[in-house]
């Protein structure tokens, strides 16, 4: 009399019905209302093997493992962000402790546009909830190799930035071509920093891509790469704004396509990202993903107005998608060659970039000097925003070798002694000792 899930599934369902960026913003109270109605009406919480969890709250310490908040954590986020990140952690812990086989954090607000440095909100994101989760489970459970597949329609530029130099984190983003959509990045030539060339892979898809195109990229590129990478955990940043009814994007993905993609990708953990067709898409997409993750039949999940074949790509569009996938797969295959070409004999490399925070209207300029090593190295990052803040930080990743760790600590001491550093905040993010130091002038 009770349906039994094939996979035990943990659901952290937290719609935050009392939180909005502003009353008419896409990130508002109403966002998951119809999804709640649908999953409640489908009786998904009654299915034997689907277990509902309340999110825990992440701490500032959890955030500091990932971010450099300027000027500090308290001013850059609210409880809602800590709960959303905590929800992702709750989901991951349920899987790692073996309470469930898989978990889905259906939480808001999202996080994949939040980069290493946080001067404000970008693309509705303040802190990167997947990254806070990943760094938490690496610290507490010693998990090393992780693959993140970002299926949000927007390029996951924040997650890309955070794991840019980490060869133990494979980041693959599938998104609408940056020439046609925010944040305007995620091209095939963005392939990771000097210590992790090829461990960031971007698959820009043309507007109008539908189920066939997405599943082509999955089967012919993403799955083979993951198979070769051999991660201990697969995480899906499950944005749902590729849907054909989404108001802020131009793709044609369906609920059935999302469920199929999730089924084939078979992630341990899925985390909701964007998705703003709150009535036409989210109720059906989320039902589909939940059923797929639980190993139940999702073939009858579809939008009431769905007609199969309605959005099929033209042959030309499909050809283009195939070309992109082939190019990206070549990058992956030739990653050591590309790395050699990039680093040559350099011991350090410098990267410069400007970052715009659309949600808060902040401009940041950033310079990072990266130590070249076979580990993640370490780096010295200097960032200035047009709000008058400057921060200089030494970042020692969780998987730095002892040599890089030592050198990083020395570099931090040197910065400390440089009294001349102009009105800046200095930080040390030491992933080896799990220490975060911030000194303000």
């Amino acid at each position: 009399m009770v349906l039994k899930a094939k996979n035990r599934l943990g659901l952290v369902f937290f719609p935050a019905f009392d939180w909005a960026i502003s009353s008419t913003h896409p990130e508002r109270e109403e966002r998951l209302l119809y999804t709640r109605d649908q999953v409640e009406e489908e009786g998904l919480f009654d299915i034997d093997g689907i277990i509902e969890y309340n999110p825990k709250m992440a701490s500032y310490k959890d955030v500091q493992r990932v971010h450099l908040c300027v000027p500090d954590e308290k001013s850059r986020m609210t409880e809602s962000h800590l709960i959303s990140a905590g929800g992702a952690i709750t989901a991951a812990e349920a899987v790692i402790k073996g309470e469930v086989d898989k978990a889905f954090a259906l939480v808001r607000p999202p996080g994949h546009h939040a980069m290493r440095v946080v001067h404000g909100a970008r693309g509705f994101c303040n802190i990167n909830i997947e990254a806070v989760m990943i760094n938490y489970i690496r610290k507490h459970y010693g998990i090393k190799k992780i693959a993140i597949v970002d299926t949000d329609c927007h390029h996951g530029d924040g997650t890309q930035d955070i794991y840019w130099n980490d060869p133990d984190t494979l980041f693959i983003s599938l998104h609408q071509d940056g020439r046609t959509l925010y944040p305007g990045s995620g091209y095939t030539d963005e392939i990771g920093g000097p210590n992790a060339v090829g461990y960031t892979l971007n698959i820009p898809l043309p507007p109008g891509t539908s189920d066939e195109g997405f599943l082509y990229a999955l089967d012919n590129l993403i799955l083979p790469v993951i198979e070769e990478f051999q991660p201990e955990l697969i995480i899906n940043s499950a944005g749902q704004d590729n849907h054909y009814t989404d108001p802020i994007t131009n793709m044609n993905f369906s609920a059935s396509g999302y469920a199929t993609l999730n089924d084939r990708l078979d992630p341990h953990i899925a985390v909701l990202e964007g998705g703003y067709s709150i009535e036409g898409a989210l109720p059906y997409v989320n039902t589909g993903i939940i059923l797929a993750m639980a190993g139940l039949d999702y073939s009858n999940v579809k939008e009431p107005d769905f007609e199969p074949g309605r959005f099929r790509e033209t042959a030309r569009v499909m050809e283009h998608i195939k070309d992109v996938c082939e190019e990206v797969y070549r990058t992956w295959k030739n990653r050591s060659k590309y790395r050699q070409k990039m680093i040559k004999d350099a011991k350090y490399l410098k990267e410069r970039r400007s970052i715009y925070y659309d949600t808060d209207g902040i401009s940041e300029s950033r310079e990072e000097i990266i130590k070249i090593c076979d580990c993640s190295g370490y780096s010295i990052l200097t960032s200035t925003s047009d709000r008058g803040y400057t921060i200089r930080s030494v970042i020692i990743p969780w998987n730095s070798c002892p040599k890089c760790h030592k050198e990083g600590l020395e570099a931090f001491e040197k910065i400390r002694e440089e009294k001349g550093f102009p009105s800046g905040i200095i930080c040390l993010q030491d992933g080896i000792n799990d220490i975060f130091i911030r000194e303000t002038p």
């Binding site: 349906l3 109403e30 009406e41 509902e52 999940v301 009431p304």
Partner: protein
């Protein structure tokens, strides 16, 4: 005077009340014949009483529950309109099903209309399958009952009885709506026959007082009104004891109610003196339903649980081999241990010692030491279960930041014990939990008292959608137009007026206290403009003890 009668698994308890106090009570073993289990103790208690002095008869019966557990339901055919979603083919193995096309979405909008030829053919198909009763259930029918009503009008009249899913509850949950509808149609005939028989028997005894039936939520409904939703009469036993405990002992804080029986102890919780409910509905014999009910969880230890030594370890329950040794039984029980320790002042101490001796010898300890061990173990099991269920209710999912950070966490301040073996358990449980355990006067007949004093309750759900300009009163099958400026105040007014009407229909007192138990209000924003509001309210007649005790 009021008659309260609780029919349990092994016994029927009857209490006769005068001025809200138990004036007479009796207990009678359960009989093969259902009606006899009620009438024999009823005749006992009515001996020498004036039948015309009886003002009300309240029954808590296991009739519907037994019919479900024993699979003695009428032949029900289910006509379902599932639309896209979960695959429901597995239902075919439980009852005959006809799936028909058509779809209502989450806002109650008709996305696909019904195919009336298909509906008629579903009716014929169900007849061929031998169905006498129907369940008609559509997805999101609580948001728009139109399709269920149309199906009923087309094929319902050729069946003896039909349940329309939306009439049972305003809550979402399609599988539960299906099961609840199935059970409701399935128990209808049995309940109808019972009602006829009991009314006849009361008439024979010149008892002209109205008859009420207890529900799982601690409220009652008039015997005739229960014909509309007979499924609501299931699992009323735990509610009877909880309401009785609350009548016997004033409690305004968080608390625990333990109903100690022969083989099990039922655990229930109070939040600020109000009993906790099942969030989605109660479960009956494996069927998850939408039936509103008080939260109650069994734990396999009672006063007569058999105590054994298994591999040198004490094992208590879940078996029972008759009453405690102190009360003439032959096997050791927790009650005997409490008698030996002098906690329980009744029963024969020498017989209790006799009962425990073999165990003590086997373990190589004195009888007193054995009694201590049983005392500890019994309390451990009960307290372990209390803590587990407390953890369960304290981690119920919440959906707002406010509730997550500042929501109520239950912290019980005292325990109320009821049930015949309760005196043996108060001290050990209190010691382990570190809070007082109260054994109120009248604890033995709390269930019958609870049944006697409960009032008519009902709940109702109102959903107003000002963008769609519709108002739905789910359980009443009402869907009507509203203006775009319809407010929450307006919704409250509608809710209370329909709720009062419904209370009267259920045989209740129109002046019963009403309250809103759930409320939500969302702005509907389309294209960066607020284009409407969704207001959802659920109200209820407060379950509680009747004010008018009667003479």
């Amino acid at each position: 005077m009021i008659i309260g009668l609780d029919m349990g698994g092994t016994h029927t308890d009857v209490a006769l009340l005068e001025n809200g106090e138990i004036y007479k009570k009796t207990k009678y073993p359960r009989q093969e014949d259902f009606l006899e289990s009620i009438l024999i103790p009823l005749d006992q208690i009515m001996e020498g009483e004036d039948p015309l002095a009886i003002e009300r008869v309240l029954l808590s019966t296991t009739l519907s529950t037994n019919a479900i557990v024993e699979g003695k339901l009428g032949k029900v055919g289910m006509v379902l309109e599932p639309g896209p979603g979960l695959n429901l083919d597995y239902l075919n193995s439980i009852f005959p099903v006809c799936f028909i096309s058509g779809y209502i979405d989450h806002r109650g909008r008709e996305k696909f209309s019904l195919d009336m030829d298909e509906v008629r053919s579903a009716g014929r198909h169900m007849k061929e399958k031998g169905a006498q009763y129907l369940g008609i259930v559509g997805k999101f029918s609580t948001r728009n009952p139109l399709h269920e009503k149309k199906i009923y009008e087309t094929i319902g009249p050729s069946f003896s009885y039909s349940t329309l899913g939306h009439t049972l509850s305003g809550n979402l949950n399609y599988p539960r709506r299906i099961y609840t509808s199935y059970l409701n149609s399935g128990v209808w005939e049995i309940y109808k026959q019972f009602l006829k028989a009991i009314k006849y028997s009361l008439g024979e005894r010149k008892i002209k007082a109205p008859l009420y039936i207890l529900k799982a939520d601690g409220g009652t409904l008039a015997g005739d009104a229960a014909l509309l939703r007979p499924v609501e009469t299931v699992l009323s036993g735990p509610a009877a004891s909880i309401m009785g405990a609350m009548a016997l002992e004033d409690i305004e804080e968080d608390g625990i109610i333990l109903d100690i029986g022969g083989t099990t102890t039922d655990i229930a919780f109070l939040a600020d003196g109000v009993p906790l409910f099942e969030p989605r509905g109660i479960e009956v014999s494996g069927f998850k339903t939408l039936i509103r009910g008080l939260y109650s969880r069994p734990c396999g230890v009672g006063g007569d649980s058999l105590v054994e030594l298994k591999d040198g370890q004490l094992k208590i329950g879940p078996e029972r081999l008759g009453p405690a040794a102190a009360f003439g039984g032959s096997s050791p029980t927790p009650t005997d241990a409490m008698v030996i320790k002098g906690i329980y002042k009744e029963g024969s101490r020498s017989k209790a010692i006799e009962g425990l001796k073999p165990l003590a010898d086997k373990k190589g300890v004195s009888v007193e030491e054995m009694a201590d061990m049983i005392y500890e173990k019994t309390a451990d099991i009960i307290v372990e279960n209390i803590n587990r269920y407390l953890g369960e209710v304290n981690s119920r999912p919440v959906y707002t930041i406010h509730e997550l950070l500042h929501g109520k966490k239950l912290a019980p301040q005292k325990v109320i014990l009821v049930g015949a073996p309760a005196p043996a358990f108060a001290e050990p449980v209190s010691k382990k939990l570190g809070i007082p355990c109260i054994l109120p006067e009248g604890f033995e007949a709390a269930n019958a008292l609870g049944a006697a004093l409960s009032r008519v309750t009902t709940e109702l759900t109102v959903v107003a959608d000002t963008q769609e300009r519709t108002l739905v009163v789910g359980e009443e099958g009402i869907r009507e137009k509203i203006p775009s400026n319809f407010s929450k105040k307006d919704a409250e007014k509608v809710l209370f007026s329909y709720l009062r009407e419904r209370c009267i229909k259920m045989g209740g007192d129109p002046s019963s206290p009403m309250e809103i138990i759930e409320e939500e209000e969302f702005n509907v924003v389309r294209g960066f403009y607020t284009s409407g509001k969704i207001i959802r309210l659920k109200g209820q007649i407060k379950p509680g003890i009747r004010g008018d005790y009667g003479a």
